[in-house]
């Protein structure tokens, strides 16, 4: 999985490309740990994210908990499969998903 980051003042946009699974989720978690301090607006761009599993969901959930304290988190450009996973698992109720 590739992780591209765009930082604009206190806004961080992270674009993911590939699979967010058991192997790649720890990599995302590590990057977020480094970058999240001082970020008030976090956007996860899933345009090129093809696949997500529970490992990815858990990283997003822990990130959501952090951002709830210091700002907000939004997810955009979610594909049909990832949306289906969010709906099936109830993640749609936890996250802010932009169309």
């Amino acid at each position: 999985m590739n992780i591209d980051k765009i930082l604009e003042d206190n806004k961080l946009i992270i674009r993911l490309d590939g699979r967010l699974d058991t192997n790649t989720a720890p990599k995302l978690e590590e990057e977020l740990k480094k970058d999240l301090p001082n970020i008030t607006e976090l956007v996860l761009d899933f345009e090129d994210l093809k696949y997500i599993s529970s490992a990815g969901l858990r990283v997003i959930l822990s990130t959501q908990k952090i951002m709830n304290k210091q700002g907000n988190l939004a997810i955009e450009n979610v594909n049909d499969f990832v949306m289906e996973v969010f709906e099936a698992t109830g993640f749609v109720n936890i996250l802010t998903i932009k169309e």
């Binding site: 599993s53 959930l61 499969f81 996973v85 109830g90």
Partner: protein, 580 residues
Amino acid sequence: MFKRNFNILSKKYNEFFLPTLLISMAINITVIVETIIVGITLGSTNLAAMALVAPIFALFAMIYLLFALGGSTLVSVAKAERKNDDANMFFTMSISLLLLIGVLIAVFGNIFIDNIAALVTSNETLAQLFKAYVSIFFMGAPLLFIIMGMPFFMRVDDKPKLASTVVIVVNIVNIIMDLVFILVFGLGIAGAALGFVAGALVGLIFIFKYILSTERTMHFISLSKCKLSSIYDITSTGLSSASGQFFMFLKLTLINIIVYSVLGAPGLAAFAVCYQLLSVVFIAISGISQSMSPIVSIFYGEKDYSGVDFTIKRSLKIMITACIGFIIIFEAFPVAILNLFGFNNPEYLTVGINAIRIYSLSLIGTGITFLMLFYTQAIQRKTLSFAISFTQGLLILIPSAYILSKVIGANGIWISFLVAEIGTIIMIYFATKLISKRSEGKFSGFFLLGNYKDIPVLDVTITGSIDDALGLSEKLINFAEENKIDEKIALRIGMAVEEMAVNTINYNSDEIEFIDVLSKIGEEEITISFKDSGIEFDPSKHSSEEKESFENIDVLQKIADDISYARLIGLNSTVITIKK
């Protein structure tokens, strides 16, 4: 990458093989040792009385094979099909029937003991000895049936070592107590019978250990919940093995008549030796066949045909190798063998050497037909299984022994055993061809394996590594897309595989070596079957303590349309279904 490697199956087979071999050895060796003890301590008249009881023992064996082997086979199949209620019903009915028939024998056997004695002998001395010996077995029939029958269920419940412990302990205590009761207490032939009862009582301790175990997966249910039709199912399944005992008794009687008419006493003695040699070979034949049986029942029930293929072919290789080993020994050392049985007379030796050398040639065939008898029983081909028992035991052997003895002479009798085995194998070949044709290709080959016809199948083994789990996830997504599955469904399949495999790897603190994954794309749904030898874990019933948990299995439960689980012979078997 990810080729199916049958490591899990291979290990399971090995776990079953030695204990099952030991059971077979314990039973067969005890018969020989007990005969020697009675012969030495009590003399030949008592031995003759023991011989008169042989048909009663054959009947007892028929009964516990009919209900225990029949019932345990059905339990295996029911568990593989996730029909736990049926499995419990077959378990309950089989044990209940064994107890009921045991009680009936205990009551009526002793009421009619004089009539039974009169049937077997007109000699008053032998009749008294017969009654003294058999009355104890009649009284102990309920105990005997439980002791001999319960190990079949214990093996199906992944307790092959405990099952073999029961049988070994029963037989060791039997031998020791035979000596105590006969030599110390002077109980005569009744002492030999009481020896078995003493052994059975000790064996009962281990049976109770199993009954009280929390790991037991078969449970007793109320008889009112059991269908009467299950009696037919149990008996029809066990019939081929049980009838084998009956045909053995008939075969012995008829062959003895033919042998005596052609060769006289030397021929009878030679045949007796051949029969004893067969008892030794049967330790291996029975051990191999009964190891294979529960594994095949379960894997065939789960439609894991490559697993079945591996198991039966492995069993066949071991069988043929073992039989070749025995043939080499018997062909090379017939004189030494005959000397062991007290053959010194030159005429007896000549007949004996000839008999052993020609008779031995049939052993490979015997191994194959016996294996196929158990195999067809395990895959629920009851009619074919019975046909094998009947053909091998009587249909070809007796007529060919009679005809060949007239045409060739004495050698014709010994050759007829080989003819019977070859004839039975030919019968099996044509019968399986007919069944295959009638099934319109659904089942094929000598082993009547199912085939997946037009269903795309991916049958692989992964190691217990996260990389392999994820590699398979990607492979399965590609496989699904290649077979025109909608992309979203394909990704869901890949996700299901990742969640299940990763959970299995993480749940087992001791490393999981392999996981077998069999995926099938059906008309309306995709099924993914997982098998591993790790800690017992039911993903269909798992629930996290946390309300909103996104652990592997919690997410799997939300994205899969169905998850079914069974613990089968110590393996976790999970089937995940995703609808198209």
